[in-house]
């Protein structure tokens, strides 16, 4: 079980590092919508 912990720990720290790079957050709330047609034409200033 200790070896499992070491492996899991290394994985967790690696994932943490990637999450920080990507800017992930448990508090992020957005719903990402790729290229909706209505949105593209929304800016009209």
């Amino acid at each position: 079980m200790f070896k499992t912990y070491i492996a899991a720990g290394l994985l967790a720290v690696s994932l943490f590092s990637y999450a920080q790079y990507q800017g992930w957050s448990v508090w992020s709330v957005s719903e990402s919508k790729p290229q909706p047609g209505t949105s593209r034409s929304a800016y009209h200033k």
């Binding site: 079980m1 200790f2 912990y5 070491i6 899991a8 720990g9 290394l10 967790a12 720290v13 994932l15 943490f16 590092s17 999450a19 920080q20 790079y21 990507q22 800017g23 992930w24 957050s25 448990v26 508090w27 992020s28 709330v29 957005s30 719903e31 990402s32 919508k33 790729p34 290229q35 909706p36 047609g37 949105s39 593209r40 929304a42 800016y43 009209h44 200033k45």
Partner: protein, 640 residues
Amino acid sequence: MKTANCPSCGAPVTFRSSASLLAVCGYCKSTLIRHDLDLENLGRMADLMEDASPLQLGAEGRYKNGHFALIGRIQLRYQQGLWNEWHLLFDNQKSGWLSEVNGNYVVTFPSPAPENIPTFDAARIGDSLQLHGQAFQISNKETASCIAGEGELPFKVGAGYEAPVIDLANEQNSATLDYSETPPLLYVGEQVELADLKMTGLREREALAGKARAKSFNCPGCAAPLQIRASGTESVACGSCGSVVDAANENHQILSRFRFQNTHEPKLPLGARGHLRGADYDVVGYLRRQATVENIDYPWSEYLLFSEREGFRWLSEADGHWNFIKVTTRTPKVSRSLTKPTASFLGTTYRHFQTSTAKVTYVLGEFNWRVSVGEEALVSDYVAPPLMLSEEKTGQEITWSVTEYIEPEEISAAFKLEQPLLRPIGVAPNQPSPYHGKVWPYWKAFAAFAMGALLIQVVFMIGAQNKTVYQNSLEFERIGAASSLTTEVFPVSGSTGNLVVRNQTSLNNDWLYLDMELIERNSGRSYAFGRDISYYHGVDGGESWSEGNARDEVVLSEVPAGEYFLQIQAETPAGGGAQISDRLVVVRDVPQWSNFFLVLLGLITFPVMAWWRSHSFESRRWAESDYASTSDSDSDSSDD
């Protein structure tokens, strides 16, 4: 060395020691007292009782770089059995004594007795006595009687000669006060292992085997066949009629009788031989004891083992847990604190586990004392797994035993049992924890991971842009309906990262709902989110209260670089009044702590689980102790 002729048979009698006053002629057993050059014959010395002692006159050994020879012997009987006192003569003509009882050996030397010696009648078991700057505890008080002697002795002895003696001990040393003379004679020394004395000239193994050969006789109570396998056996319990028979008496008188409703079948049959802990042992006796706590009986079994070389040892079994027990003549140092007493012995500290009164409820086979059903002893156990110290206190003596936990598989293998022994139930007081030494590595690994995660966090914090990419002050009318607006385009640079949208409003007992959408102008990629912002406060019964927050912040993840704008639809309450102002700020690449704490939370689960398993095991161990209501969850090691 002086030699004279025995006045009875004319055989040469040698006095190797100038201190020897008495010698027993090796040929005719005449007891001879030395008067300068003359020898006075006091009559024939009684015969020694046969035993399986490996020692004999003429054997030699070494103690603390001093060479000695066994030149004399006194065999004595006390209430519980026999012991030998061997007269030692060192090369420097110094005399000493080697006490031998049940396979335990103590070397002592005559020592001046201090003046504060209590009288024999005044001495009590358990009393403390200062001897030559050391504290000793009285462990035994007996009036021993001499059976016989042989060789050279420094004083006059004979059959029936009585010696009131008090034994004392501390963690390191032993002492004996002999009240047969006035003032009392003091002997001080220490327990030794026979192997450490590097003896030569011991009795041949074949001679010892002959002495240990089983002797058979019929029970005087029911004529059932009984056997004596061990030398030093004092009593034999008959499993057929409950008679306890005097083994030392050739007439085999019945010492006591007990009634039993059920016979108990020993898991190790009497007569079984096994090789255990480096020696061959015969199972010669079996008894059942129990302690009663809060009207609940806690029974256990004990097996008396006998080895020609090692003497007597014990195996105990309770709920499938086995222990190997050796009696010691030393007395551990007990420290009685307010919380939990401890006993220190040979560098190890033992914690008090429980004290109870143990009563013998069933006996079968041979015993090295005059056992009786119903006899009780106050037993105190101190644990340092896998070891345990047990103090047994009766009216006459205090006996300490060193106990070591032993796996049932080792017992089965040693005695070649056909049927496997029962699997242990629960946790024994001195059962070694399977988690011993396995908790601390988890915490060390966690610390290493936490440091690594902290380092990564610091690197990202240092490298974060934390740059405001858009800010504006917005005003919303209280119209009770939605209103929409669109911000200017603002650039978001750098690699993919987060974007934090902050709204700092002027809400005061009011609410505002913002339906927001962050849109990338070129790709059309959008991030939609709604924010329900409210802030209420007041005073109720003299106490102020508040609910919600006029400030709001939201994190958008994985936002790539690009040209963005915000589309905002705001809903406001109706009723007119002052506009709701909102300071909108968009910040790029804001360092977040949430992931750091999340990974710590995930990483700590393993060490917490490891600690919990160890804690749970220890809790189950101590749940059976005198401290169950405040069960000590601390491990006995430095694991936690």
